[in-house]
């Protein structure tokens, strides 16, 4: 179960869900917001974003709705569901456990052996 003990794989999904926890957003907004908040560290490609978002929708963690303020550009907004919120909480906990473990190894450096 190496994949479960390393949450790096699911971290992008976690970041997206974190954004949606605060408000509903459409894809372009999410990429911009992620870029801004991470000081341009996370430059998510749109081509990665949509399959990921649709996968989350599939699992029922997010839902989508259309907003047609501008008829030429109907926007698909994503909304974090209740299950999604629970999943996000679990992922966050998993992540901080992992981060603490990495920190301990990097900073500790000595053992009794």
């Amino acid at each position: 179960m190496a994949r479960e003990s390393n949450p790096l794989g699911g971290s992008t999904a976690m970041l997206l869900m974190k954004l949606l926890e605060e408000r509903d957003m459409y894809g372009y907004q999410m990429i911009e917001e992620l870029r801004r908040r991470s000081d341009h560290t996370f430059d998510l490609k749109a081509g990665t974003l949509y399959p990921l978002l649709h996968g989350l929708e599939e699992k029922g963690w997010v839902t989508a709705y259309l907003e047609e303020e501008n008829a030429a550009r109907p926007r698909k907004y994503y909304h974090l569901t209740k299950t999604g919120r629970e999943q996000l909480r679990e992922k966050k906990e998993e992540w901080s456990r992992y981060a603490r473990a990495v920190d301990r190894v990097l900073e500790g450096g000595f053992s009794l052996a």
Binding site: Y26, G27, Y28, K45, A46, G47, T48, Y50, P51, H54, G55, E57, E58, G60, T63, A64, Y65, L66, E67, E68, R73, P74, R75, K76, Y77
Partner: protein
């Protein structure tokens, strides 16, 4: 400009080429196109030329083939082999059991051949219809939803003079009305955000179908229409579809089905008949209570497995209205329970998938189909267990009836068609919250204002 436009379109087209599910393409293309246009605007704002902006947007999106392949993996039709196999199995078991029953029941050979032919024809025709509907795009029903409902109510009304009465019942209209719940689902779907007016139209629709049910003379049909219709409304109200306050709308919707029950109470002759049949059949053992007594006798003599003790005398319509009792009599309670278990499994799986639907049209249509099949089965089993308060509709896919089989298989096809497209990228427009007109409002300075809402509106 056209060249720039082509770059975005070229990219979107290339992504779509990777997606095998034709119907998924439109929604995906729309989302990607909007994103690319947003990106292009941002680049233009940074001072790029249109061509540069275009190239940059496409570059940021990533490799179209890879994106398309990944999206293709998420959006695929979901074949419904399990449900199809279950339905097919039930139909085959039903045909075999009907054949066995026909051999048991004293019947002339001509009648037997005729009945068996009807059953087989119903199964074949229904099977073709089921597959046809399964492959069909059910969302076309959503485009003119309320009109389709009205049209069907009209067709049912027109069919009344062309229906022949068997035992006092108009049979052609009767089978058309089995699709009333599906039509009501379409009506409810069409009333999105229409508030109380929409709710009133839905109730009117249910009322019209229920009156047609009364003309047909089938209390079970009226109950089917009123019961499923109101459950569909409730489901829509609870998903915020109609834009009415949930509590009040639920109260009204629950109170409304009392109308036919009230009608029955007022119609005391009918009520006493049904009560006699269901509760005290011994009061009229050779008339109204005859069937109940005969069914109960048959069940009392039934064994856990194998043929029961009671000699089954003089039960007409053995494979028609009393199929279930006969199966229990001939093969034992175990066989009867197994049939019910298989049907319950089918309906439970369907109901679970129904509640997973993201789109409202798919949700309401599949719910209508499950509720129709479920009500039919419940009425049939209860009646066959000797509680004839309501007449039996049918035991879906199992009991005799060519036209029943066709309608029920069509409903199964509709269910599977909805579930098959579960992964279609669809997003509905968001419900715009209706402003509730309030009589009492709190002003900013803390004063409470009580005024009719239209006066307030005029003052603004």
């Amino acid at each position: 400009m056209p060249e720039n436009r082509n770059k975005i379109e070229e990219y979107v087209a290339e992504v779509c080429e990777q997606i095998r599910w034709k119907r998924a393409k439109e929604g995906l293309a729309m989302e990607l196109r909007t994103h690319l246009l947003d990106q292009q605007d941002a680049c233009l704002a940074e001072g790029m030329t249109e061509e540069e902006a275009q190239a940059e947007s496409v570059r940021q999106m990533g490799d179209p083939v890879e994106v398309g392949t990944q999206l293709d993996r998420v959006h695929r039709p979901k074949p419904q082999w399990d449900l199809m196999l279950l339905v097919f199995g039930l139909v085959v078991i039903g045909l075999v059991l009907q054949g066995v029953l026909m051999m048991e029941v004293p019947y002339d050979d001509v009648g037997r051949v005729y009945a068996m032919r009807r059953s087989a024809a119903g199964a074949v025709l229904g099977g073709v219809l089921m597959l046809g509907i399964y492959w069909l795009d059910y969302t076309i029903l959503g485009r003119r939803a309320p009109w389709i409902c009205g049209l069907w109510a009209g067709v049912a009304a027109i069919s009344i003079p062309f229906s022949h009465r068997i035992n006092g019942r108009l049979y052609n209209t009767y089978y058309l009305l089995l699709l009333a719940p599906v039509c009501i689902a379409l009506l409810v779907y069409g009333m999105r955000g229409k508030g109380w007016k929409g709710l009133l139209i839905c109730w009117t629709g249910i009322g019209i179908f229920a009156i047609e049910g009364a003309v047909v003379v089938s209390f079970s049909m009226i109950m089917l229409i009123v019961f499923t219709g109101n459950l569909l409304i409730l489901a829509a109200v609870w998903r915020g579809w109609l834009g009415v306050p949930k509590g009040a709308a639920t109260g009204c919707t629950l109170a409304l089905p009392l109308a036919p029950i009230l009608w029955m109470l007022l119609n005391s002759a009918y009520l006493s008949d049904r009560l006699t049949i269901a509760l005290h059949p011994e009061l009229d053992p050779l008339g109204k209570g005859f069937m109940t007594i005969a069914l109960r006798k048959l069940l009392r003599g039934a064994r856990w497995m194998g043929r029961g003790d009671t000699a089954p005398w003089k039960i007409p319509n053995a494979y028609d209205d009393h199929f279930f009792t006969w199966v229990i009599h001939l093969l034992g309670w175990a066989a009867g329970l197994a049939l019910v278990a298989a049907l319950v499994l089918l309906l439970a799986v369907a109901l679970r998938r129904c509640f997973r639907q993201k789109g409202m049209l798919g949700f309401l249509l599949s719910l209508a189909a499950v509720l129709t099949l479920g009500t039919e089965a419940a009425s049939y089993v209860i009646y066959n267990l000797g509680f004839g308060f309501f007449g039996a509709l049918s035991l879906p896919f199992l009991s005799y009836g060519g036209r029943y089989m066709v309608v029920n298989l069509a409903l199964a096809g509709l269910l599977m068609s909805v579930f098959r497209e579960e992964h279609l990228p669809q997003a509905q427009k968001r419900e715009t919250p209706r402003l509730r007109r309030k009589w009492i409002t709190l002003r900013e300075d803390g004063a409470v204002v009580i005024l009719p809402p239209w006066v307030k509106k005029a003052a603004q």
